[in-house]
């Protein structure tokens, strides 16, 4: 009896004794729980990567990828694309003179026309792009040089553009709208397409200039400042970018819905390209309601108002006509990539099969006991 009380006391004493050192190991519940988690016995799948086990994966990947690749390749090949370089580097190029003489400081525009022939008719909607090469729209300082709030029509930023726009922030003391280097370098060539009929007359190809920008850009991201419908009033007290011929509210005087910041050509330009060689959507040639092709084969002439100098940085300008499919423009790469990867997988699968048969018998037998 006495012994038991003694022991009880003892245990108390011992416990508090150990805790009196404030040691980190003062654990109350001593016996660990026997749970699968705590004992690290969670049910688990243990894949072992051996030739035998990964073999099927390689074949399956190969068998899936090769058809997809073929499909992609065919789709890409069905896309019709026509590209013409009008930079005017060569002497015989129609725009040689324009290219030679033109600079940002020129006040008069230079016009040149390029003839070309479409061998095949373009059936569905045709997208007309302009393409630039060697134009580093992704340059870090260039990409930053814009003020999204200004472009969103925020009044304060219209008058006080963001510092990021430097050195295209103010001009003669007036804030530049739209400010920044991107806006300043807006692509301002005008491309017009004419079909030359059998009889030799030029017929303008109807193009739409709406719908070329992202819907969200047009309606959410970009907004004209102020409530007034008159844009020239709204942009009062701002200067046009240095390189621009006309003010931002004069970009498309005919259509108020396509003017100012929400001009679609402007919006498209403001979406900076990822790579130094890029194209941007310029116009869309809508499919005709009847069965005649959108662009029939034949001779065409493109009249260019040559405003945009690129030779200084060794750039190139192109006009591209292209139909598109579900996977976008013409690009055989994905198809080829799929076929290649699929084939490699298949080949490696065969290699693994050989390895498996030659060397893997032991593990195989070990894995499938009797």
């Amino acid at each position: 009896m006495m012994a038991s009380s003694y022991n009880a006391k003892e245990e108390d004493g011992h416990h508090s004794g150990s805790s009196s050192h404030g040691g980190p190991g003062a654990i109350k519940s001593k016996k660990p729980d026997n749970t699968a988690f705590k004992q690290q016995r969670l049910p688990a799948w243990q894949p072992i990567l051996t030739a035998g086990t990964v073999l099927p994966a390689f074949f399956v990947i190969g068998l899936i990828f090769i058809p997809i690749g073929i499909g992609l390749f065919v789709t890409s090949n069905n896309i019709k694309e026509f590209e013409i370089d009008y930079t005017g580097v060569e002497i015989d190029s129609p725009c040689y003179i324009c290219a030679k003489n033109f600079s940002w400081n020129s006040t008069t525009s230079c016009v040149c026309s390029v003839n070309f022939t479409l061998d095949q008719p373009f059936e569905s909607n045709v997208y007309m792009y302009y393409g630039l090469s060697n134009f580093y729209q992704n340059h870090r300082r260039y990409v930053k040089s814009r003020d999204d709030s200004q472009l969103n029509g925020v009044e304060s930023n219209l008058k006080q553009p963001s510092k990021e726009c430097e050195p295209y922030r103010t001009s003669d003391g007036l804030p530049i709208a739209p400010c920044g280097a991107i806006a300043n370098s807006l692509f301002n060539d005008t491309l017009e397409l004419f079909h030359i009929n059998q009889n030799g007359t030029k017929q303008r190809v109807n193009v739409t200039k709406k719908g070329i920008a992202w819907w969200t850009d047009k309606h959410v991201k970009f907004r004209n400042p102020g409530g007034s419908s008159n844009l020239s009033v709204a942009f009062q007290g701002t200067a046009k970018p240095v390189n621009w011929r006309k003010a931002v509210y004069d970009l498309d005087p005919e259509d108020p819905e396509n003017n100012g910041f929400i001009n679609e050509d402007f919006i498209v330009w403001m979406r900076t390209a990822a790579l130094p060689t890029f194209r941007k959507l310029y116009r869309i040639i809508q499919k005709k309601p009847n069965s005649t092709p959108t662009l029939s084969s034949g001779r065409y002439v493109m009249e260019i108002t040559y405003n945009y100098p690129v030779l200084s940085f060794d750039g190139r300008k192109r006009m591209i006509l292209s139909t598109i499919s579900w996977m976008g423009g013409k690009n055989p790469f994905l198809g080829i990539a799929y076929i290649t990867v699929g084939s490699i997988c298949f080949f490696l699968g065969v290699v693994l099969l050989v390895i498996h048969h030659k060397y893997d018998t032991r593990t195989n037998s070990a894995e499938i006991p009797n």
Partner: protein, 1460 residues
């Protein structure tokens, strides 16, 4: 870094700060303590003790206010944090900035706050525990109340009087002023401080010694001067100044330390000297230790490489940018924007700015989350190790404790284990196993069975583990059942069916008696011997009644009687009774000290005066006086006491008092004789206790011990008082102890000696040839020696018991010398030693005992498997050589087949010669063995004989050179060997031995050995020990492990991991160590890969953006990629991934070598991962590049798929690397992907104008409608991971490493696997890794047995085939049928498969130690010739000269050789 110091020195810091403050106030070297009672009313300034720390402890680091600055300060000690903050701040510089400056701060802030939260939590826990301790109660004297009142600990101040009751814990360091103990002693248990469970005596301050009445604090008016607070537990100096001006010195014996428990003392009063943080306990209490693990060191090298890569990339980009700018010359293109200031940057300036920009952009390469992730993963790993039920010891209710939180992975890389022996390998519980008396062996089968039962109880749970490896000794127990086991009633009560709870209760009950558990205490007597004892004592009783001389007793019976008397009294065991809290059993009849003077001797030994006693309860004052000076042993009996004694002797009748039963009462209470079963024995060494308990089992029980007499209770005879004349204590040179007593029955002066067999046997009186007595003696001697050998072979600690009867004259002669020696001033020790030598001669052998210092459960198995795991195990023990060697054999550290190299040298030169001799010997073996091996092998061997491995890789080759050799070295030789001139040679010798045993080594030597090996061999070392003597070694080793067993806390406090038992080391290292290492190694590699792969994407992009530092990956993704999108899966797999299951890891210890050789994380792997990362990033970059080339894609619409692809690739990469998929892995990966898309969708939809410059409004939404996005996300990860996937598959098929084989084994059904594993004991090694050179098959073994090898090789091959075919056979339900399987193939194999336990120790035909031959190489110089002893088993010895086995093979294989 400095944080570590902060943490470790936390407690000190506080006190340091305080003591500094104090030292400014008063520049003295001492502390003066006045009693607070004098100053109770003088609050504040006047109170002299106010300067000293109060008893409130505060181990927290922060207060609410100081947290932020202090924590930040600490965190910035980590270089990485500074780096990241620097980068974040760089972002505020407009010329170079890349991201939103605020955003760039986010990750750094996140990391800092995670760490801060962790710190807060830890601090809060400390705070809580502080609170708990601060609010414990104690009794403090209050002047106002005129008595003791309960107060909280925190209210105790220096100078307070504290009353302490039994079993209370001391709240502060207290100077003992009064004790209820009549001897003015106070017993404390210091288990929480130094872990020693035996009681320590503390004495009341001398001046308060003679205080008869109760101590009254009000009368106290002395002043105490003592030293400043320090952390030396074993030192306290000071003096107390009484008002009278008298000074009295204070010693450590007067000080009770905080944290100790009062035992065995009803009440004590003391004055507080040190309080709170100034107590010795607190000053000793260091926080968790911070070590840097090997893996982390390796990682830091690679972090450094990452920095280099980063700089190279940045330089490259800067150069590229400069050139890019240069090519445009003066024609400034429209897209090259001027600097914000409008100035035109020169290409050079531009490049310089860009360099800084690139550092910001590429900062991800230095993984910011790596350090935090590693910390989190380690905490989780520690949690899981904590939670492992296998590492929980039910008996002591203790866990494994991880005290160091950040070296878990080091556990997986250990190469050397340094182990203590006693208490670490053994239980430090001595169990009496068998004895031989007068040449007759009593095997104590029933006792063995009982012990076996305890073991069964213990191993009930481990039945899944095959029984092949259990000790052969245990197996033999079952076979030795004798039908007529008599079970005495005393053992019946312990024949419990053995629930562990009961065992636990029992162990708690016995917790406070050192060295006793039911297993040690309850010895089942051997029926034969018990009969004899009964017989003997009844005869003695009869003779006594009939006043016959005792010498008529038959000699065998008298031997038995003497044997047990010797067991009972030849020791220093103290008897206590458990009912009262360690009350002294007061059986004091009279005070008599050992004979001190000749007069005393003459007085005492006047004829017919037997020692007698009378009730002498009034002798308390005498007692006290005798206790003055601390030890009653040394005190001289006063004249008064001698007189009293004489009077009493005269008044008492002879016979009656010799057997007087009733002891005096204590404190006036009725004191009943404690039941003998409840007596507790406290012994200095556990084997003494074991012998006493053994004797008690034969009813020959020690019931009382006083300085001058020993009381023994015997059946029939009752209590016998032996007058103790002298005790010649144990010392390690003599290796024996003796007591000189006067036998109460024969009245002869008898010397009982107990000691090591080697010394006792030489002191035995040579039998007189001719007469029958001499013949009998000779026979006894011969037989006993035989049995001793048997015991030794069994791993028992052997002790010989001998006696000698002295005639009065002899005694007088000896006594004269002895007294001279005792009183000598010079050379006293030597003289006493010589005196003892003179006495201990011409002994008569009584018998011998075999005590088992029971190995802890599973020690041989653990050692075997650790050794298989490639760990070198060295045992460093303070024990004597014989015991150490015995235990080493028992725990399979040494193998009977092994050659034993024993180094005992007496001088530096001798040691040098010895070492060189050994080296030559080993080299000679080498040359022999490599004689017929290929030349290549020869060179390999020779080159591996260099002292230091030239590279970590060659450590493998080094293990190749380990022979089947054991090295035994003693402390003295070790001291020479550790000398700078010899240490290289010593290491070379030691390295080529399979096991090393250092005996008689001091704690310092232990740590020196560890340091030597660690520093010279550049290996990972682990030290394991349980006692205070192991602390230094534990601290020196890379990983220190403390056994939180019997000896308690001191080792634990110094350790990084505390284990309840040695055997847990196996799972800790083999399983948790392996897991932690492989998890962490893989995680770190993955981290580097991940970041490199991600950053490289941006790097490739620089070629397409004019090296302008532009990034196509949105800044948010870029910054949070590491922290959010890709962090969870790696944390999960870093915590949970198991490459091989715990079972397989334990059964195939060879898998551990992967960690030792750092196979999971080698330098080249970093570069392989980097190359893979660059390849993958190329794929992930260029597939989208070509897919979108010359299209109208904008920057972030193109960048987002790349981010997605990168994320998927990185996650799938982790998938390939993940070995075990649980739902948590799947969930975390799914979560990561879902999180990315959710964040992207929200982020892209949230604000059309925010987040300049990227402004990715609606990007992901449009992408999700684009089929190309999905096509890209399918092909790019596949293409990126294809090589790695293929490589993994091929590698594991063509060149599977052991770990992969282990994983394949995991997949097998349980029983098939078990079969294979049981075969693997023999064969698995070679099957596992054909390249591993240390494996037996296919390597020439020795030179002359070549022909035999030729026949063996096919047999082996057959064996190997049978292994491979094993699974193809129907799975065997019983592993035993496997042997049949083997037998079918080849009879030899079945022999191979025989467990090594065929040696039955009880089988008399198997006596290996007698067949051992010793080769002595005697060296000429020095006074005591040192010797090298080569001991080897007989079979090997035959072929040893030509064909020593020199390759490390499995035991079974070696047996095969010997069988052949």
């Amino acid at each position: 870094m400095a944080r570590e110091n902060e943490d470790a020195g936390m407690a000190e810091d506080v006190s340091k700060a305080k003591s500094q403050r104090k030292s400014k106030a008063k520049e003295t070297k001492t502390r003066t303590v006045h009693a607070n009672t004098l100053h109770d009313f003088a609050k504040g300034e006047e109170n002299p003790s106010r300067r000293y720390a109060n008893n409130r402890i505060k181990t927290t680091k922060y207060t609410v206010l100081s947290f932020l600055p202090k924590n930040l300060f600490e965190q910035f000690h980590r270089l990485a944090n500074v780096y990241f903050v620097f980068i974040a701040l760089l972002n505020f510089v407009p010329v170079v900035n890349t991201f939103l400056p605020e955003l760039a701060l986010a990750p750094v802030l996140f990391i800092l706050s995670v760490t801060a939260i962790k710190d807060i939590w830890e601090d809060y826990r400390r705070h809580r525990s502080d609170m708990e301790i601060n609010h414990m109660d104690c009794l403090v004297y209050s002047r106002a109340e005129k008595g003791y009142v309960e107060k909280y600990w925190k209210e105790v101040r220096v100078g307070d009087f504290i009353r302490l009751r039994c079993n209370e814990i001391l709240p502060a360091d207290v100077l003992l002023l009064s004790s209820s103990d009549p001897d003015r002693l106070c017993h404390i248990e210091t288990a929480t401080l130094d872990g020693e469970t035996n009681l320590k005596q503390r004495q009341v301050v001398r001046s308060f010694f003679d205080l008869d009445c109760d101590f009254d604090p009000l009368k106290y008016n002395s002043v105490i001067e003592c030293e400043k607070p320090n952390n030396d537990l074993n030192r306290f100096r000071g003096y107390i100044i009484h008002q009278s001006g008298k000074k009295d010195a204070l010693y450590k014996e007067n000080l009770l330390l905080r944290g100790c428990t009062i035992r065995n003392t009803e009440e004590a009063v003391g004055i507080v000297i040190y309080a709170g943080h100034e107590t010795k306990a607190m000053l000793n209490n260091n926080g968790p230790r911070y070590k840097r693990s090997k893996l982390e060191r390796q990682m830091n090298v690679d972090v450094f490489w990452c920095v280099i890569i980063l700089l190279v990339m940045c330089l490259f980009a800067a150069l590229g940018h400069g050139l890019w700018m240069f090519q445009y010359g003066d024609k400034r293109p429209v897209f090259d924007v001027l600097s914000p200031e409008g100035t035109n940057l020169s290409p050079i300036m531009s490049a310089i700015y860009l360099f800084l920009t690139m550092i910001i952009v590429f900062q991800v390469l230095i993984p910011i989350s790596l350090f935090v992730s590693i910390e989190i993963v380690k905490i989780c790993q520690v949690y899981f190790i904590h939670q492992d039920a296998d590492l929980y010891d039910e008996e002591t209710d203790s866990h494994l404790q991880c005290r160091a939180l950040n070296i878990t992975e080091d556990l997986g890389q250990m190469q050397y284990i340094f182990s203590d022996k006693t208490g670490t390998l053994t239980e430090n519980k001595m169990v009496f196993r068998r004895c031989t008396v007068a040449g007759v062996e009593y095997s104590h089968d029933a006792n063995a069975k009982r012990i076996a039962m305890y073991q069964e109880m213990d191993s009930e749970e481990e039945e899944c583990i095959s029984h092949g490896g259990t000790l052969p000794r245990r197996d033999s127990v079952g076979s030795h059942q004798s039908a007529r086991v008599l079970r005495s009633h005393s053992t019946k009560s312990h024949r419990r069916t053995g629930s562990r709870a009961e065992a636990k209760r029992a162990s708690i009950l016995s917790k406070h008696t050192a060295f006793s558990s039911p297993m040690e205490k309850d010895i089942t007597p051997d029926p034969q011997l018990l009969d004899k004892v009964n017989d003997c004592s009844s005869q003695l009783d009869f003779m006594r009644l009939h006043s016959q001389p005792m010498s008529q007793l038959p000699s065998d019976l008298s031997d038995v009687f003497d044997f047990f008397i010797a067991l009972t009294i030849c020791n220093t065991v103290v008897v206590s009774s458990p009912n009262q809290p360690r009350q002294k059993v007061r059986m004091r009849f009279e005070l008599k000290s050992p004979v001190k003077t000749i007069e005393d001797f003459i007085k005492r030994f006047t004829p017919s005066r037997l020692t007698s006693g009378s009730n002498n309860s009034s002798s308390s004052s005498l007692n006290r006086s005798s206790n003055k000076g601390g030890s009653s042993m040394q005190s001289c009996p006063s004249a008064e006491s001698t007189l009293t004694k004489l009077n009493e002797e005269q008044s008492s009748s002879v016979m009656e008092h010799a057997f007087s039963p009733a002891p005096p009462s204590y404190d006036g209470k009725a004191f009943c004789t404690p039941d003998e079963g409840e007596l507790r024995y406290e012994a200095e060494s556990p084997d003494e206790a074991a012998l006493v308990y053994a004797a008690r089992a034969y009813k020959c029980s020690l019931v009382g011990r006083l300085p001058d007499q020993v009381t023994v209770e015997l059946p029939h005879l009752g209590k016998l008082n032996f007058e103790l004349l002298h005790t010649l204590g144990f010392d390690s040179t003599r290796k024996r102890m003796s007591v000189v007593v006067r036998h109460p029955l024969t009245d002869q002066i008898t010397v009982y000696t107990k000691g090591a067999d080697s010394v006792i046997m030489e002191l035995i009186r040579p039998p007189i040839t001719g007469n029958s007595k001499g013949r009998r003696q000779k026979k006894i001697l011969c037989r006993t020696q035989n049995y001793l050998n048997l015991y030794a072979a069994d791993g028992l600690r052997t002790l010989c018991i001998a006696k000698k009867v002295l005639s009065k004259d002899e005694y007088a002669r000896w006594l004269q010398h002895h007294l001279q020696a005792e009183t000598a001033i010079q050379r006293r020790e030597e003289l006493l030693f010589e005196s003892a030598l003179r006495l201990e001669t011409n002994l008569q052998l009584l018998g011998a005992t075999g005590i088992e210092d029971r190995l802890q459960d599973g020690v041989p198995e653990t050692i075997a498997s650790l050794r298989k795991a490639g760990l070198q195990i060295w045992v460093l023990t303070g024990d004597k050589q014989e015991t150490a060697v015995n235990i080493a054999y028992a725990c399979k550290l040494l193998d009977p087949e092994e050659e034993l190299l024993t180094l005992n040298a007496d001088s530096q030169e001798a040691c040098k010669l010895l070492l060189e001799e050994s080296l030559h010997y080993i080299q000679a073996k080498f040359l022999c063995s490599s004689g017929d091996a290929s030349a290549k092998d020869f060179h390999a061997n020779v080159s591996s004989f260099e002292i230091y491995p030239s590279s970590p890789l060659s450590s493998h080759a080094a293990s190749d050179s380990v022979h089947r050799l054991g090295l035994v070295i003693d402390g003295r030789t070790l001291a020479y060997a550790l000398d700078a001139s010899l240490e290289d040679t010593f290491l070379t010798v030691a390295r080529s031995c399979r096991s090393v045993l250092c005996c008689r080594s001091t704690p310092l030597q232990k740590s020196m050995v560890v340091k030597l090996v660690r520093n010279k061999l550049k290996v990972m070392t682990l030290a394991i020990g349980d006692g205070a003597n192991d602390v230094s070694m534990i601290q020196v080793a890379d990983v220190g492990v403390g056994i939180s067993g019997q000896e308690g806390m001191q080792a634990v406090m110094a350790s990084d991991f505390a284990l309840p038992r040695f055997r847990y080391l196996q799972k800790l290292l083999l399983v948790h160590g392996h897991w932690c290492y492989s998890r962490l190694a893989n995680m770190i590699l993955y981290f580097f890969y991940k970041n490199a792969m991600f950053v490289a994407l941006i790097f490739w992009y620089q070629f397409y953006c004019g090296f302008s530092g532009s990034a196509m990956i949105d800044q948010w993704y870029l910054i949070f990629f590491n922290l959010m999108f890709s962090s969870f899966p790696q944390l999960i797999s870093g915590t949970l991934d198991k490459d091989v299951s715990a079972e397989t890891l334990q059964q195939l210890p060879q898998l551990y070598t992967s960690g030792q050789n750092s196979e999971e994380y080698k330098p080249y792997m970093f570069w392989m991962n980097m190359i893979d990362a660059f390849y993958q990033s190329l794929v992930c970059f260029f597939i989208p590049y070509f897919a979108y080339t010359d299209s109208d894609v904008d920057l972030f619409t193109w960048g987002t798929p790349i981010t997605t692809i990168a994320l998927l690739t990185i996650l799938l990469h982790l998938g390939i690397e993940t070995k075990t998929w649980t739902w948590m892995n799947c969930l975390s990966i799914a979560f990561s992907v879902a999180l990315f898309f959710t964040v992207a969708l929200c982020y892209n939809a949230s604000c059309p104008t925010c987040y300049p410059p990227s402004n990715p409004y609606w990007t992901i939404q449009r992408l999700l409608q684009d089929p190309v996005f999905y096509l890209l996300c399918t092909i790019a990860p596949v293409a990126a991971l294809l090589p790695r996937y293929f490589y993994r598959a091929c590698h594991s098929t063509l060149f599977p490493n052991p770990v992969q084989v282990g994983r394949q084994l995991d997949k097998l059904p349980a029983d098939t696997r078990r079969n294979i594993l049981s075969l693997s004991r023999v064969k698995m090694g070679s099957w596992l890794s054909p390249r591993q050179p240390s494996l037996p098959v296919g390597k020439p073994q020795n030179c002359t047995q070549k022909d035999q090898r030729g026949t063996e090789a096919p047999a082996k091959r057959a064996g190997a085939e049978s292994v491979q075919q094993g699974p193809a056979h129907p799975p065997d339900p019983h592993s035993s049928s496997l042997k049949e399987l083997g037998a079918k193939n080849d009879p030899l194999l079945s022999e191979e498969l025989q467990p090594a336990s065929t040696k039955d120790p009880s089988d008399p035909s198997w006596v290996p130690s007698t067949q051992m031959d010793r080769v002595q190489l005697n060296l000429p110089p020095s006074r005591a010739p040192p010797c090298v002893t080569y001991v080897r088993s007989s079979e090997t010895a035959l072929s040893c000269e030509q064909t020593p086995p020199c390759s490390r093979g499995t035991t079974a294989e070696a047996e095969l050789y010997t069988a052949v």
